[in-house]
């Protein structure tokens, strides 16, 4: 596997040797390093419990809500350390997260949800969000809890975009969505990126994420297990088998061909 130099060109957001623990015993991340260069989509893949969400929390400054602490390493944006910054300062810096599970404010209207994202956002930003997600414009007076799952995901992304992020963090944006809706979201992510926003995308749907991303990292039990250009990872057998669920009939799986047979004792 091709291993590019440790620091990639003009990294906007950079994570270096980050170790995160919850309490004294649980170490969720172990010396994780990754970069999100200006204008790229970078994806982080991994199974449940690999530390993807913890990584997001560490970047957006919300570890403290879950009793987590960064024990070593650092997160920087354009050279400025964000380790000790409170969440609102990180948003001001230009790094905004649309959290896992959408987390829209269900008792508030679509309009109000967007306002929370950016109270003083200029009209052009609002227009951009409504252009990306026309359904939000149609439903702006509705309570967010009445939206469908896909629409809530759009609202969560639109809300994050209201802060005009330079880096958009997306945690499992297609989780629990119908395949067609997942494709729509994927298309929008590309669109957002083409408008100049860098994206850090955490996904379980590896096939979809690798198609969108320029570069990919695979987390396994809190460590970076694999990394490389998304196209290369998508082509590698290991990723195909472990994260994309592709079983190639021609190439036998490493354990050999064991077949099940009826036990006849």
């Amino acid at each position: 596997m091709l291993k590019p130099p440790d620091v990639r060109a003009q990294a906007a957001l950079s994570v270096r040797d980050l170790t995160v623990s919850y309490g004294r015993a649980v170490r969720a991340l172990h010396e994780v390093s990754l970069d999100v260069p200006q204008g790229e989509i970078v994806t982080v893949l991994g199974a449940n419990g690999a530390g993807k969400t913890t990584l997001m929390r560490a970047i957006s400054g919300t570890l403290r809500f879950h009793g987590g602490v960064v024990t070593s390493g650092k997160v920087t944006y354009s050279g400025v350390s964000l380790n000790t910054s409170p969440a609102h300062r990180i948003v001001e810096t230009g790094i905004v997260q649309a959290p896992e599970g959408r987390r829209v404010f269900g008792r508030m209207t679509v309009e109000e949800n967007l306002k929370v994202g950016g109270f003083h956002a200029p009209e052009s930003t609002r227009k951009r969000v409504f252009d990306l997600f026309p359904v939000l414009a149609e439903r702006r007076k509705q309570r967010a809890s009445l939206l469908s799952g896909g629409e809530q995901q759009m609202l969560a992304m639109g809300r994050a975009l209201m802060a005009r992020p330079k880096v958009l963090l997306l945690d499992e944006p297609t989780l629990g969505l119908a395949p067609l809706m997942a494709q729509t979201i994927a298309k929008t992510i590309t669109e957002i990126n083409e408008q100049g926003t860098s994206v850090l995308l955490v996904e379980q749907n590896a096939a979809l994420a690798l198609r969108l991303a320029h570069y990919a990292y695979v987390l396994d039990v809190g460590k970076v297990a694999l990394r490389g250009p998304a196209a290369e990872l998508a082509a590698s057998d290991e990723v195909r088998q472990r994260y994309m669920g592709v079983v190639d009939e021609q190439i036998p799986v490493a354990f050999g061909t064991r077949t099940l047979s009826r036990w006849e004792g």
């Binding site: 409170p86 905004v96 269900g106 994202g117 109270f119 809300r159």
Partner: protein, 295 residues
């Protein structure tokens, strides 16, 4: 009939004042999930400051000082207790009992046995129409409380502050992710609660009550059942609860001769009795959201 009407108007007026106090409870609970047991002493403080300064600054000036002082002490509690303590929210709620004791003890010491006038412009004047006699203070209380509540609700619905407050109440972590400063929201809630309490103090101590004395905070405590029976996390609940308690108290107090078989002083007990009955039927209050997760 006139007696009933008088009692109803007095009850509404009293209820509106309770609603102001209950609103303070609810704002703090929504923004910070802390039940503020020091609320009654904040009210006493606001009233005391108003009473002390009304000779020098006039009533309005003194009230302004009272409001500022109560709001500042609220902010102080938020800043030095809530932000510093890494304890659970219910533990902080218990700590506010301590603050209440300290503040009430100091104010009681200063007040001694005296009864202070607040110098409000209405005095003991009354208004008569159609055979009904109502104290001007009661009408003033109703109007002032209604205006303040309307202003507050409008701010809560339309301003960035109000929208942020609702976002934090619904999901504080996500609100933080969107760039809302939780500390500011929490502090502003305490300030608003303190300010509302200071205004309420005026109408609790005004005619027909002789003035502000150390039992005033006990009266304020009746807003607590108002907030609870409405549902601690509901603004509507605070308003309805306040009015319900006010009306109950006025009616039971007014007809206590007819209710003498239940003993004297029933007006003081009635708010709690109403609260218990309502909580038996609806454990999370009239408008409260059910909390399934909390044990």
């Amino acid at each position: 009939m006139t007696r009933l009407l008088e009692l109803l108007i007095n009850g509404l007026s009293l209820g509106a004042v309770y609603a102001l106090i209950a609103l303070g409870f609810v704002v703090i609970f929504k923004a910070t999930e802390v039940v503020n047991f020091a609320h009654a002493s904040l009210l006493l403080l606001g009233g005391y400051v108003t009473a002390v300064f009304h000779d020098d600054f006039g009533f309005v000036g003194a009230l302004a000082v009272g409001i500022v002082v109560a709001a500042a002490v609220g902010a102080f509690v938020e800043f030095f207790l809530l932000r510093r303590a890494k304890a659970r929210r219910d533990v902080i709620g218990i700590a506010t009992i301590g603050i209440d004791i300290v503040l009430t003890a100091e104010l009681s010491r200063r007040l001694g046995t005296s009864v202070l006038a607040l110098g409000d412009p209405w005095g003991n004047k009354v208004v008569q129409f159609g055979g009904i006699t109502i104290a001007q203070t009661r009408i003033a209380a109703l109007i002032v409380a209604a205006v303040l509540i309307a202003l507050f609700l409008a701010a809560f619905k339309y301003t960035p502050w109000g929208i942020s407050m609702r976002a934090v109440a619904e999901d504080s972590e996500t609100a933080a992710l969107m760039g809302i400063r939780l500390g500011r929201i929490s502090m502003s809630a305490w300030c608003v609660a303190g300010a509302l309490a200071a205004v309420a103090a005026v109408f609790i101590a005004a005619f027909p009550t002789p003035g502000l004395d150390r039992t005033t905070s006990l009266v304020a405590l009746k807003a607590f059942p108002a907030a609870i029976l409405g549902g601690l996390d509901s603004m509507t609940g605070a308003l309805v609860g306040g009015l319900l308690i006010g009306l109950t108290e006025a009616l039971v107090g007014g007809y206590q001769n007819e209710l003498s078989f239940l003993g004297r002083g029933l007006g003081d007990v009635a708010p709690y009795a109403v609260m218990i009955v309502i909580l038996l039927v609806r454990p999370s209050g009239l408008f409260g959201t059910r909390e399934a997760s909390r044990v």
